[in-house]
Assembly symmetry: C2
Homo-oligomer: 207 residues x 2
């Protein structure tokens, strides 16, 4: 079982390594990563070791090797595709989110049920009618679905995804979903992040 | 130091308790909460105990008391206000997010630098010019800021927030911010959530 804090930190390292590589760097030390991200160097060394990639005493880590190691460890190599249903404000922002490009996650097709949106292009993706979801997704073998519709429509959309063979649903709607045992739902909850932020700001700011 | 998983679970209880209360319920048992949310009953009992609210042997917990206990524990009572800068796709979706209403968090004013947006209303909030941020936020004593502008403008907006007396920044842009010691930044990172989802779906789905 992989600890969730590690799963949260590795994408941050990946993001930094991508930037370093774009700047033409070839090697990096775990100390540099720790300093740049304001993290504990012992923790960073432990995290990088879990990917199986070793650093060299003088040069540190080969950046391309480390990127490859993180991507394989996180399973990004194979699950690079997803579909999105609900191209409203949140959906549009996710369609264009540059963070997904860095980790090679691609939203390959987007669906909506609003006639004014169907047939248009949002952030470079063509919007298809949700009536075509089951047929298309089955044929494309995509296993991951982002759900960004209003809560009252969330279950109905989840049912379509399950019927299409989706095995992982990233649910942004604040509504609990009923899905079969073999489908995993990740509930994205901004309110939980807000709670953490407020707690960390601590009592001193509440004056 | 409060464990982060607890900070993530408590808003979920709060959301459920709010729905129960709206349905006219007065009491609830920790077992019911555990069953409804598919959680370990021992964990739920421990979590609720941390808010200092005690249940009664026959009836269980008084729902209003428990809501009050969670809100006080999380600091929601006092930090109910925030500002938002960057009313694009993501910002608009956060302006209208019903999850914030449930936990009594209110985005009291929103700013942008796009002349086409300034003076309009998005999801019921009037969009003000970012040039007015420092003056207004100082006078309103708001301590929390949501940052939803493109990465290249993130630092500049953070500087304005700090100058205005903001002490907690919820940063959605994938860019590291430089802020004084007494300002806390919570980096929202969808890619981390994606990594967790992909890992939890496990190898079986990758075929
Ligand atoms: N989890 C979070 O942290 C978070 C943050 C913000 C918003 N949200 C949630 O995300 C969801 C979307 O929010 P938004 O602000 O983008 O709303 P929105 O109204 O702008 O967008 C919803 C979109 O879904 C489409 N839609 C509705 N029913 C559909 C269906 N059956 N099939 C296909 N498309 C359908 C609509 O046409 C619209 O384009 C809401 O549930 C909201 O609560 C979650
Ligand atoms: N963290 C996450 O998980 C996540 C998910 C999606 C998007 N994002 C990020 O959120 C940000 C916004 O994304 P979006 O899709 O809404 O983009 P967008 O282009 O739709 O919106 C950006 C808004 O910011 C405004 N703006 C730009 N510079 C400004 C300034 N200096 N002062 C005030 N307003 C300014 C623009 O006018 C626009 O309205 C981006 O940085 C994106 O990478 C993060």
């Amino acid at each position: 079982k992989v600890p969730v804090p590690l799963l949260r930190r590795l994408p941050t390292y990946h993001h930094l390594l991508t930037l370093l590589k774009q700047n033409g760097e070839e090697y990096v030390s775990s100390q540099t990563i720790a300093d740049t991200l304001n993290l504990d160097p012992v923790q960073v060394r432990k995290d990088l070791a879990s990917t199986g990639v070793a650093g060299k005493p003088k040069n540190g880590f080969n950046i391309s090797e480390l990127l490859e190691g993180i991507e394989t460890f996180l399973g990004w190599k194979t699950l690079g595709e997803g579909i999105l249903v609900g191209c409203g404000a949140l959906g549009s922002s996710l369609l264009g989110y540059e963070g997904f490009l860095n980790c090679r996650f691609d939203i390959v097709v987007a669906f909506d049920n609003d006639p004014k949106k169907i047939g248009t292009t949002i952030r470079g993706k063509e919007i298809l009618p949700v009536t075509k979801l089951v047929d298309l997704v089955k044929r494309m073998h995509v296993k991951l679905g982002l759900l960004t519709v209003p809560s009252q429509n969330a279950q109905q959309v989840a049912d379509l995804m399950v019927e299409a063979g989706i095995k992982g649903i990233w649910n942004f709607a604040p509504a609990a979903l009923n899905v079969p045992q073999d489908v995993y739902v990740h509930q994205e909850d901004m309110v939980a992040s807000l709670a953490i932020l407020i707690k960390k700001m601590g009592a001193t700011e509440l004056q």
